[in-house]
């Protein structure tokens, strides 16, 4: 049996979005029995990479709990959509990088977690080159 995994797909296969545009897509779990899943969290967020400690902020967040009576069928694709904010835009700097992503986290029994994320670009800020 193959390992459980999360697949995230954006509508229109878009990877670059403009502020105010709607980000829509779906996620699906593979090889994951329904009885295993306690809760699922979907976040649209940005995080920083680079020299500094990580900063992170969540733009949109959804949590589905099996305990609340929500049916969590991992084999069925689940849709999400959100209007993207004006800022911060994706950025590829020298010591600061800012990335946007959709992150899906499934909380399983026996304290296990299944995690998947797919990055996208917000805005079209070009990558920075070092000054001469």
């Amino acid at each position: 049996m193959s390992e459980p995994a999360v697949t995230i797909r954006f509508d229109g296969n878009g990877r670059t979005y403009r502020p105010g545009e709607t980000l829509a897509g779906e996620y699906r779990f593979e090889s994951l029995p329904a009885a295993e899943v306690k809760a699922v969290e979907v976040s649209v967020l940005w995080f920083t990479e680079g020299k500094g400690d990580e900063d992170m902020a969540v733009h949109a967040f959804w949590r589905l709990n099996a305990e609340d009576g929500t049916t969590l069928d991992p084999s069925q694709p689940q849709h999400f959509n959100t209007v993207l904010p004006n800022s911060p835009l994706s950025y590829e700097g020298l010591i600061v990088k800012l990335r946007w992503c959709v992150r899906v986290r499934a909380f399983l029994h026996r304290n296990k977690e299944l995690f998947g994320q797919k990055t996208f670009r917000l805005g079209d800020v070009p990558a920075v080159k070092a000054l001469p």
Binding site: E3, P4, A5, R18, P19, G20, L32, E41, S43, L45, T48, E49, G50, K51, G52, D53, E54, D55, M56, A57, V58, H59, F61, R63, V83, P85, N86, S87, P88, L89, Y91, G93, L94, I95, V96, L98, R103, R105, L108, R110, N111, K112, E113, L114, F115, G123, D124, V125, P126, V128, A130, L131
Partner: protein
Amino acid sequence: MARSFRWYDKKRGHRRTGSTTLGRAGELAFFAFLCLLGGVGMVVVFKLLIVPQWRVNREFREHTCIVLDTHVREKEQDEGTVYRPEIKIEYRIQTAENQDDNYVAWTYNIATALDSDAQNAYSFLPGKEEAAAIADRFHKQQQYPCWYDPADPKIVVLERGYAWWLWLVFLVPASFLLIGGGGLVYAVLHWGKSAEHSAAIAQRARHRDLFGGNGRGERMFPHIPDGADITSSPGTRLQFRLPIGTSPGWALFGTMLACTVWNGIVVVFAAVAVSGHLDGRPDWFLTMFLIPFLAVGVFLLVLFVRQILIATGIGPTLVEISDHPLLPGGQYRLFLSQSGRLKMSSLAVGLICEESATYRQGTDARTETRSVFRQELFRREGFEIRHGVPFETECAFAVPDPVMHSFRANHNEIRWKVVVEGAAAGWPEFRRTFSVIIRPAEESPPHE
């Protein structure tokens, strides 16, 4: 891939981040311990210090006694000798069976009465004179009022009232309780929640806080400073006068403070070393040890003198801008005014962008800054600024498009600045910065 509990999370660059679960468990344990410590401390302070005083003032019965003897008891401690007055008194109390019980006790206040073995330092005073003055107030064979404990008549005092410092003692366990309790509530609220869930909760709380963040500006342009301080000062030529990053006065004060404190300490040690040499007993270890410290002292002195020259000799720099915040691709006008009495080799104005990253290294927080963009807006060479006639110029410039906007988070920042750099004959080079905010060109209405 599914994963269970890990001692360590993923490796980020050259740093390995710790397990979130383990970290939160540690956090919870730490705050619980602080809370417990504060709680126990409060109970102990209350029971041992507050309740006895309260009982003396509220429940002890007034009576009379005869003073038999007085003395000042001394107690040796690590911090030195402490003292307390002790008064030997005799008093009679009629029992329920109409019998007189005779009591003799060494006492003064409740701290002394409850500590007949003189074990507790809090019943003592630091000064012998103070203790002796109290003891001298009581004369042998004279009658004085006293107050005894109806539940245990052996406990008697000659002095009532509340010691104010006892309430200060409360601050120690109270602060432990407050920090521990607050941390515990935070840790419990975030227990078992993912980083995204915790961040979402914090963000919702921030949006509810009307006084936090930048209000509507923050919601329209999250994580972009609103620049209210920049547009608070109107200009005389153009719309806004930009506030200076670090005023020369503050820079001068900072270097003066650093120079005085550092050199003040170094001079004391240097005096010891020099006097040793003069007395013919040179301490070469101290002398060699002092050399790098002296070098830093000289460097700070040079820095201080340089700041004096810049602050007094080079006049104020004013920068005004036609609009703010700036947008990528936007066309703006900039006004520069430089006062002083200077023969300028060069005066240049630039628009720069800096990345700033703060990271933890051991227990230190370090910040690294890197310039990633520089555009010269104005440059003039070889001219003179006369006293009372400031050099003034206006220039037009365009913000490049596309370009990254200003950005501020807890550890990472992208800052845009207008920088004025000057070199004048006979003066040190100077650099004055003025922050500006660049917002993204495109915007959509805020949404909840």
